[in-house]
C-alpha cells in the first residue's frame, strides 16, 4: 500500500474519516489542534459535520447527543480539556453511548505546559469521572497505529456500546511518520437503541443513566460490570519485543516506549538481554501476559513520563512474583535514550550480560 508522511494527529483524523466517522465536536487546545483543523477541512468534503463547540463541556455533551442518536462521533482534546469532560464521559459510559475520545496529553497539573506527558494515565484508566465505569483505552505507539487503532476504536465502541479513549501525547501527535491509509468504509452497524424519532416503533428509545431507585442503579451497574468483564477478557492488546530471552523487561507505552526501543536496540547490540513489553490497551490492562512473564522469573522496569502511574498496574499484575522498578520523568520533559539506556543498564541483574 502506498505510504504517505503524516503528523500523528492528522493520521488519526484521516483514519477516523476512513473508518466512517462523520461527526466531530471539539474545542481548540494545543497540542491537538491539527485534529479539529483537519476535520474542519475534510468532514464537509465527505458530507460530515464539523462543529467547534463553545467549550469542552459542551463538546462532550454534543458527542453524547450525537452518539446517542447513532452517529459515529469523535472528539479530541488535551489534558485540561479532558478534565472538563469528566462529567460528560461518566454520563456517556453510564448511558452506554458509543463514541471515541482522544487525549493528546500534555504536561500538568493545571495549565502546565505544551510538552508531552503520560500523567493522565490514572484519569484514563481508573476513571477521572465519578462512578464505577471504564473506558476502553488504546495507546498508539506510532502514526500507523494512530490510523489503525482509531478505526478499531469506532468498531469496539459500537460493539460494546462504550466510550473508547485514545491516549496519545504531544510527541505522538506532532511527529510525522509514514502511514498506509486504509480504504474509506462507511458505517453499517445497526443501532436499534438510538434516538432517531420513534419512526413507527412501538416503544420510544430512551438514552439515560438515571437510577433513582437504588436497586435500578445497582442493576445498571451489574450490567456495566458484566460488560467490562467481557471487554477485559476479549480486548487486551500488547506488543512484546524480545521478552522471551530477556532478563529484564521494560514496560512502557506511547512515546516512552519509543525511547525505550531505541535504548534497547543499543543494549542488544551490546549483547544485553533486554525486552520491551508495550501495552496497547491500557484498559483492559494486559495483566495476565505480564503475570505469566513474571512467573518465568523476569524482572521489570517501568518507564513512563509521570510520577508513577502505569507502575501501579504493573505491580498489581505481577503481584510480588517479580521485582518491579520504576523510572519516571516528571511532566514537561521526555527521557532521553541515554537516560533510559543508563537506567536499564543499572537495573539489569548481575551477570545479565548475555
Amino acid at each position: 500500500m502506498e505510504r504517505v508522511m503524516m503528523k500523528g494527529n492528522e493520521a488519526l483524523a484521516e483514519g477516523a474519516i476512513r473508518a466512517g466517522c462523520r461527526y466531530f465536536f471539539g474545542y481548540p487546545i494545543t497540542p491537538q489542534n491539527e485534529i479539529p483543523e483537519y476535520m474542519a477541512r475534510r468532514l464537509p468534503e465527505v458530507g460530515g459535520v464539523f462543529l467547534q463547540a463553545e467549550s469542552e463541556v459542551s463538546a462532550i455533551n454534543m458527542v453524547y447527543g450525537a452518539g446517542g442518536a447513532g452517529g459515529r462521533v469523535l472528539t479530541s482534546s488535551s489534558s485540561p480539556g479532558i478534565s472538563l469532560k469528566q462529567e460528560g464521559i461518566s454520563y456517556i459510559a453510564g448511558a452506554q453511548v458509543p463514541c471515541v475520545i482522544v487525549n493528546v496529553a500534555r504536561g500538568g497539573p493545571g495549565l502546565g505546559g505544551l510538552n508531552p506527558s503520560q500523567s493522565d494515565y490514572f484519569q484514563a484508566t481508573k476513571g477521572g469521572g465519578h462512578g464505577d465505569y471504564r473506558l476502553l483505552v488504546y495507546a498508539p505507539g506510532n502514526a500507523q497505529e494512530m490510523v489503525d487503532l482509531i478505526g478499531l476504536a469506532f468498531d469496539k465502541a459500537e460493539e460494546y456500546r462504550n466510550p473508547v479513549m485514545i491516549l496519545s501525547d504531544a510527541i505522538m501527535g506532532q511527529m510525522m511518520e509514514p502511514v498506509a491509509l486504509p480504504a474509506m468504509r462507511t458505517e453499517t452497524t445497526e443501532k436499534p437503541w438510538a434516538t432517531t424519532g420513534k419512526q413507527g416503533r412501538s416503544k420510544p428509545n430512551i438514552i439515560n443513566s438515571l437510577g433513582l431507585v437504588g436497586e435500578d442503579l445497582e442493576r445498571i451497574n451489574i450490567e456495566l460490570q458484566a460488560k467490562y468483564a467481557r471487554l477485559a477478557a476479549a480486548e487486551v492488546r500488547y506488543e512484546t519485543d524480545g521478552t522471551g530471552e530477556a532478563d529484564l523487561i521494560v514496560v512502557a507505552y506511547g512515546t516512552s516506549s519509543r525511547v525505550v526501543r531505541s535504548a534497547i536496540n543499543r543494549l542488544r547490540q551490546e549483547g544485553k538481554k533486554v525486552g520491551l513489553f508495550r501495552p496497547i490497551t491500557l484498559w483492559p490492562f494486559p495483566k495476565e501476559a505480564l503475570a505469566s512473564l513474571a512467573a518465568e522469573g523476569k524482572r521489570f522496569l517501568v518507564v513512563e513520563m509521570s510520577a508513577g502511574q502505569l507502575v501501579e498496574d504493573v505491580i498489581l499484575a505481577v503481584n510480588d512474583r517479580a521485582k518491579v522498578s520504576f523510572f519516571g520523568k516528571l511532566n514537561g520533559t521526555v527521557p532521553t535514550v541515554r537516560e533510559v539506556y543508563d537506567r536499564i543498564l543499572s537495573s539489569l541483574p548481575e551477570g545479565g550480560e548475555g
Partner: protein, 180 residues
C-alpha cells in the same frame, strides 16, 4: 543503519521544511523515517528545530539528542547543537549569518555554506535553506538528491508547486559545493 539529524534555525528560515524533505526523501527510498518539530520556549518567533531519523528498521525515539548530521541556519542553533554531534558526523552551517569560524568539534566535518549569497545568485533569497540541504545531502549521502527532489512535490502545497524548479536549482547548487 540509522541516521539521526537536526535542522535548526530562526522561525521563518524554513528549517522545518528541509527536515520534512529529508524524511520524505528517506521514505521514498523505502526507509523508516520520523520527523519531529520542536519550538523554543517563546510561543511566537524565536528559534525552532526539527529532528529527523532515517533507518532500515522501525524508528524508536523521534527526538534526536545526539545527531550525526546537523544543519544550523543561525548562530544560536550552531552553538546549541554542535557539541552533541557524534564523531564522524557532519555539520552544515549558514555562513551568511555565522561569520566567525566556529571551533571544530572533534571528529566532525564542519562545512560552511553562504546560503543568502548563493540563494540570491539563484534569484530568490528564500531558498537558502535548500542550498544548505543540498550541501548536506552531498556530504552525508543520507538520501539521494533525486528522492528529495521527488519529495518536493509531496511536501510543498499545491499552490507553491511552481516554485519546485527554483528549489531544485537551489538543492543542486548546494550539492555542487560538496563536489568541488
Amino acid at each position: 543503519m540509522t541516521h539521526e539529524m537536526v535542522c535548526a534555525g530562526f522561525g521563518g528560515q524554513g528549517v522545518m521544511l528541509i527536515g520534512q524533505l529529508l524524511a520524505y526523501g528517506g521514505m521514498l527510498e523505502g526507509k523508516e523515517v520520523t520527523w519531529f518539530p520542536s519550538y523554543g520556549p517563546e510561543m511566537r518567533g524565536g528559534t525552532a528545530n526539527c529532528s529527523v531519523v532515517i533507518s532500515d528498521q522501525p524508528v524508536g525515539s523521534p527526538i534526536v539528542a545526539e545527531p550525526d548530521g546537523l544543519i544550523a541556519m543561525n548562530g544560536p542553533s550552531l552553538m546549541r547543537f554542535k557539541g552533541v554531534v557524534k564523531p564522524g558526523g557532519v555539520i552544515v552551517y549558514n555562513a551568511s549569518l555565522i561569520e566567525e569560524l566556529p571551533e571544530q568539534p572533534a571528529g566532525v566535518r564542519l562545512f560552511a555554506v553562504a546560503t543568502n549569497e548563493l540563494a540570491q545568485e539563484i534569484g530568490n533569497d528564500k531558498v537558502g535553506n535548500m542550498v544548505a540541504l543540498g550541501a548536506f545531502l552531498g556530504l552525508s549521502k543520507v538520501v539521494g538528491l533525486a528522492s528529495v527532489e521527488a519529495a518536493l512535490e509531496k511536501v510543498l502545497p499545491e499552490r507553491r508547486h511552481h516554485l519546485i524548479p527554483l528549489n531544485i536549482s537551489a538543492l543542486r547548487r548546494g550539492w555542487a559545493l560538496t563536489e568541488g
